[in-house]
Symmetry: C2
Subunit: 210 residues, 2 copies
């Protein structure tokens, strides 16, 4: 059975997956780029000059074996994107997903076919329904749950996620979208491992027990 996986999801020490307020100029609010600097320094992001250590090994898992992605409305665009019929996401003409990509929103619109194999589908559906649709599209491959924090939280709380890779960045954001709320006792259903990297981040893996 293919898996539902979260990869490279970065949080601050206090558990925020983005700062605030989110906007067109600052998609991550006051967090700026700090949640993802560890990733920009790797060969996953910069094939030529990026480093190939622990962080790169973890980061590369983001691309391997996926047949579909699910993301939240706030990952797809800044607040209000639903009012802009021309908004096509942050990623330009050829988004890095290369699969069907399901955007959860209470204001769905027709599908958007992009270059390179990404088609955005807009879905107003429960987490379980969204997983069923994405699994169907992914076939034998896994489904990536791309974030943000509120979507990851909802799907984990509903018992729909098999594996998570979180990256704890040594900053204290204080405010934003918090991952942990409502996830009490996650250790009862997941094996949790932790590896710190010389870059200063700590990689956490959560693997669902059989």
């Amino acid at each position: 059975m293919p898996l539902v996986r979260v990869h490279n999801f970065s949080i601050s020490l206090d558990g925020f997956g983005s700062g605030e307020p989110q906007s067109l100029e600052s998609p991550f609010g006051h967090a700026g780029q700090r949640l993802h600097e560890w990733m920009f320094a790797t060969s996953f992001w910069d094939r030529e000059a990026g480093q190939r250590g622990v962080d790169a090994v973890f980061a590369a898992r983001h691309e391997l074996g996926f047949g579909a992605e699910i993301m939240g409305a706030n990952k797809f665009g800044p607040p209000g994107w639903q009012d802009d019929p021309d908004w096509q996401g942050w990623w330009g003409d050829e988004p890095p997903f290369h699969t069907p990509t399901y955007v959860l929103t209470h204001r769905p619109r027709p599908p958007l076919e992009m270059a390179g194999g990404t088609t955005f589908h807009f879905l107003d559906a429960s987490p379980a329904e969204a997983i069923a649709v994405a699994r169907e599209a992914a076939g034998d491959l896994d489904v990536r749950l791309g974030g943000g924090a509120s979507v990851v939280r909802d799907f984990v709380a509903a018992g729909l996620v098999d594996h998570l890779h979180l990256v704890v960045v040594p900053i204290v954001l204080g405010r934003g979208a918090r991952l942990w709320d409502g996830l009490e006792a996650l250790e009862d259903t997941f094996d949790i491992e932790s590896v710190s990297s010389p870059s200063g981040v700590t990689h956490l893996t959560f693997t669902k027990r059989g």
Copy 2:
């Protein structure tokens, strides 16, 4: 200048230093002993049979070079201890502090001299005032800030702490006393390092910049 240090302060992945409700039977609430199992397994706790690896190396710092401790009322006793004139703390006749120990409470009582060098003083004072009193008592030695979460948070927010050693335990408590609230941008004033241990916990050190 002697330092103000926090050691062996354990938190869950979501940042709670204790569960809830705190009581005589369950001092850590629904967290039970899970926040400190890493420590019980070390030679710091069990001189004979305890392990002597990474966790023990960190844990031992708790005892070295301190001339006084400051703690919060909720570390000293369960809710309502102030109504019990016979309450002498959790630690029996010979508490493990062996120094003057200042208990912050809005209902102070006369000092309590215990065996082994610990005297409990009860103090209704601001964090800065409490530090001044404890520094005076500690002389050339450091002052340990013993917790709980709300006291650590208040003293860090007031800029009074030089060094913290936190231990992140891979459980999600969901509720209790949360450490991080109000500590936004801690990375601006502290160098932060992270080391994961084979036991599953991650040690974090925060060292105030010069």
